[in-house]
Amino acid sequence: MAGGKPFFKQNEIPLHLMLLPGLLLTFIFGYLPLAGLTVAFQRFIPARGLFGKQPWVGLYNFELIFSMPNTPNVIRNTVVIAFGKIVLGLLIPIIVTLLLNELGSNKAKRTIQTIIYFPYFISWIVFAALLLDLLSPSTGLVNKFTGFFGFEPIFFLGDNRYFQGTMIITDVIKSFGYGTVVYMAAITGIDPNLYEAAEIDGAGRWRQTLHITLPGLQMVIVLMMVLSLGNVLNAGFDQIFNMYNSYVYETGDIIDTMMYRLGIVEAMYGPSTAMGFLKSIVSLVFISTSYYIAYKLFDYRIF
């Protein structure tokens, strides 16, 4: 406000008012709960109230979670599963989009797109139930099919060798349709004149894809990547919670499921909050870095 510059331009006020509900919700759900982070440093006793006299325990809760036998696994699983999902979740939709783009018939293109988009709308609880049936080693379709070729049945959800891969692939199956819709939209935005010019210059389909389509998609790809890196420590609570069991804790337990069990099931609020706090800090570092890289390499900025 220094220098007599008005705080708002008169005609901007309605716009600012429209922004208000969103800001308000962010404040209530995003900033107010930050006060609860104090629980990470307390031995929290609900009976004494959220802001009551709780005993402070310093870093005890952090020490406790790191003394738990599965914590190193949990952190590794989270990163592995999340990275797998980010990488495949970027690659598969791009490849499928490029392939779809080569299809001549518009009708076929739309039909396929609708079909692969559909699982995105099914909730994980339903999709997980379907998968439990499909992936069963004794009665599941997948193992019946591979058994047809003489393979031994694989217990995808009960074998530590296969669990992480199963999580990554099923997640990609569920969500890659969404990615293709975004990339398809970006492709329609590319100037058709470029293709015509390339054709005249003698470029085939492959050259056109490499030198026109992909560069045309570049900004969207970077955008999707930066957005997905924000989820680097979200390995997918809904999915894993509905599909794991104590036998695959070693490879399947992630930060979110561990937090859930600690906080909601076992009522250990301090350690659970400490875990969440840790996750937030690591996520912050990851997001900042990825944003910085995107800015340096592709000159990409959100603001």
Binding site: F8, F27, I45, P46, A47, N70, G158, N245, Y247, E266
Partner: protein, 591 residues
């Protein structure tokens, strides 16, 4: 304009603050004086619905007998009312079954969660207006939220002992031990002292010599695990029920080879298991090897955690062998109870360890295969002798009184009234009588209820007596009446008869009676309050045990090396210090 907009954040904080602060109001803390002698009051609830007259009959029966019953015992002062109405807020756990029940009771009597037979009768007896502060299907979590917001009802149940301890520690609930002498009636005291020699039930609710809650007992025999076997399959193969663990393997083997579903595929599962090892589903098998991995046991004068007992190795080796030979479903590690029952319902499995209600989950089998028939046989053991079964002093909850509530004696009075109703001639209507798919009627008084710890045993005795006297109805007591209804029902009769009919010879309740009469049961040895050290680590230890035991069964880990690594984890996760703490407590008890 400018300034007013800048004030907005402050305004928001104000609004939110008021909303948060508004929740914490409490009812007035002024004690209401009780009358000198008990008397009855008017209630403004009028039953409506198809069975309103039945409701009136039961209430009339109550008004005719209530005061007389207590006066005859010289306990009139324990049920006195209040001339000025007392307002009480309560809370209790809800469930889908409870909602089904309320839909049925609404049609029959016009009852609802906010006005029903119990709230009606508490009003008539004591002139108290009970209002429901909250009910929840996730009751423990909801209660902890209310605890944190300091917004608790006047009288409410707590289901976990840790919560009870924390409430007491925070001074939010009051010591009601001083009122026990004056207000607790003989019929309630009898139930509390019935469980075992040293009445551990009240001990469970006592901290630092102060009684903070009225324990809600439940049948102590519920944790017993039985071996259920398809008797029609046994007969078809001309086999005897197994007496030793080796016999059991032979029966399992014969069942899997017999291909009873005649589909020509070798797909019969030997014995049914689900994933949770700390359950009825494994308890009986471990008992057969004299090992109890879910309990603290007394070994050579000191307490050890049952999971660390060397005997577990024999049980685990046994199961590992069953798994290797293909008698256990490879998918059991991801199974819930209902997944496990699937094989039974499809006629692909005929043996399981389960509690007495296990067979009730198999009701649909009867329509698919009318010949199907289950018996509960005595637990086989490794040497053919009788294996002892572990049980816990069982409470479904603790009724506690808010420190701010000025008439704490009302909790005792509610218990007195509840037991009077349940032991009276309409006990079944007041306490049980579930509509199809619904919960028992005592759920309406879940904030103040108590049953005999030997309910199952007593009911079976009563039914047996009645059966021997040609089903003489007069010998059926309230507890037995609960079971008689579903036994005679055409839909549920098949399973319920297999659970407890005295006409049969090998039901779960026959086994239950053997165990109780022969005293081949023992209580969990540790009833102390877990230290914070133990609370913080115990769950991780239990999870580790579950994981390692499962891996030993599936052969991922060798029995000896696997068990050794479990013992190492147990100690490094804090088990060593916890065992020491538990033994310190135990030594303190012996004095």
């Amino acid at each position: 304009m400018k300034k007013s907009l800048m004030l907005l954040p402050f305004f928001l904080v104000l609004v939110i603050g008021t909303v948060f602060a508004g929740g914490g109001q409490q009812s007035s803390a002024q004690a209401v004086k009780e009358t000198a002698a008990p008397k009855l009051y008017q209630s403004n609830f009028t039953p409506s619905g198809t069975a309103a007259n039945e409701y009136k009959d039961k209430i009339n029966d109550f008004t005719a007998n209530f005061i007389k019953s207590f006066t005859d015992r010289g306990e009139a002062s324990k049920i006195t009312g209040y001339d000025t109405p007392v307002k009480i807020s309560i809370s209790y756990p809800d469930s889908a079954a409870m909602q089904t029940s309320f839909a049925a009771w609404k049609a029959l009597y016009g009852e609802s969660p906010n006005m029903n037979r119990y709230l009606d009768v508490y009003k008539r007896a004591f002139n108290i207006d009970v209002s429901v502060k909250f009910t929840s299907t996730d009751y423990d979590q909801q209660l902890r939220l209310n605890m944190a917001a300091n917004d608790l009802p006047d009288i409410f149940p707590v289901t976990s002992r840790n919560d009870l301890f924390e409430l007491a520690n925070a001074g939010v609930i009051q010591d009601i031990g001083g009122l026990r002498q004056k207000y607790s009636s003989q019929i309630v005291e009898k139930l509390w002292s019935d469980t075992a020699s040293s009445s551990p039930l009240l001990d469970l609710a006592t901290f630092d010599g102060k009684l903070y809650a009225l324990p809600q007992t439940w049948p102590v025999t519920d944790p017993l695990s039985y071996l259920w076997i398809r008797s029609d399959w046994l007969k078809a193969l001309n086999l005897q029920p197994p007496k030793t663990m080796d016999d059991l393997v032979k029966v399992i083997d014969a069942f899997t080879k017999a291909d009873f579903d005649k589909n020509g595929i070798n797909d019969t599962i030997g014995i049914g298991f689900q994933k949770n090892i700390a359950s009825h589903n494994f308890r009986g098998l471990f008992s057969g090897f004299y090992t109890y991995p879910e309990y603290w046991i007394n070994k050579n004068g000191s307490l050890i955690w049952g999971g660390t007992d060397e005997n577990n190795k024999r049980a685990l080796a046994y199961m590992s062998d069953l798994y290797k030979r293909g008698y256990i479903d490879k998918e059991f590690i991801s199974y819930n109870d209902s997944d496990m029952y699937e094989a039974f319902l499809n006629g692909k499995c005929g043996i399981m360890y389960s509690w007495h209600g296990g067979v009730l989950s198999l009701m649909d089998l009867h329509s698919k295969d009318p010949k199907a028939d289950f018996i509960a046989v005595p637990l086989p053991s490794v040497d053919g002798k009788t294996a002892a079964s572990p049980i816990t002093p069982f409470t479904v909850g603790y009724t506690v009184v808010n420190s701010k509530f000025a008439n704490p004696e009302i909790a005792y009075k509610m218990f007195n009234l509840f037991v009077f109703l349940y032991e009276g001639k309409n006990g079944s209507w007041w306490g049980f009588n579930p509509p199809p798919g619904g919960n028992n009627a005592n759920g309406m008084s879940a904030f103040a209820r108590i049953y005999s710890p030997w309910l199952n045993y007593d009911a079976f005795e009563s039914l047996t007596k009645s059966y021997k006297a040609n089903w003489d109805r007069s010998l059926i007591d309230a507890a037995a009446d609960l079971y008689l209804g579903p036994m005679q029902d055409s839909q549920t009769g098949w399973a319920w008869n297999q659970m407890l009919s005295p006409e049969r010879t090998s039901t779960a309740f026959h086994r239950l009676k053997e165990i109780v009469d022969g005293k081949t049961y023992f209580y969990d040895a540790f009833l102390g309050i877990p230290s914070t050290y133990m609370q913080d680590r115990w769950q991780a230890i239990l999870t580790e045990q579950q994981v390692i035991f499962t891996k030993i069964i599936t052969g991922d880990l060798d029995v000896n090396t696997g068990f050794d690594s479990w013992i190492r984890s147990y100690n490094s996760l804090g088990g060593e210090r916890i065992t020491k703490e538990v033994n310190d407590w135990y030594k303190g008890q012996k004095k």
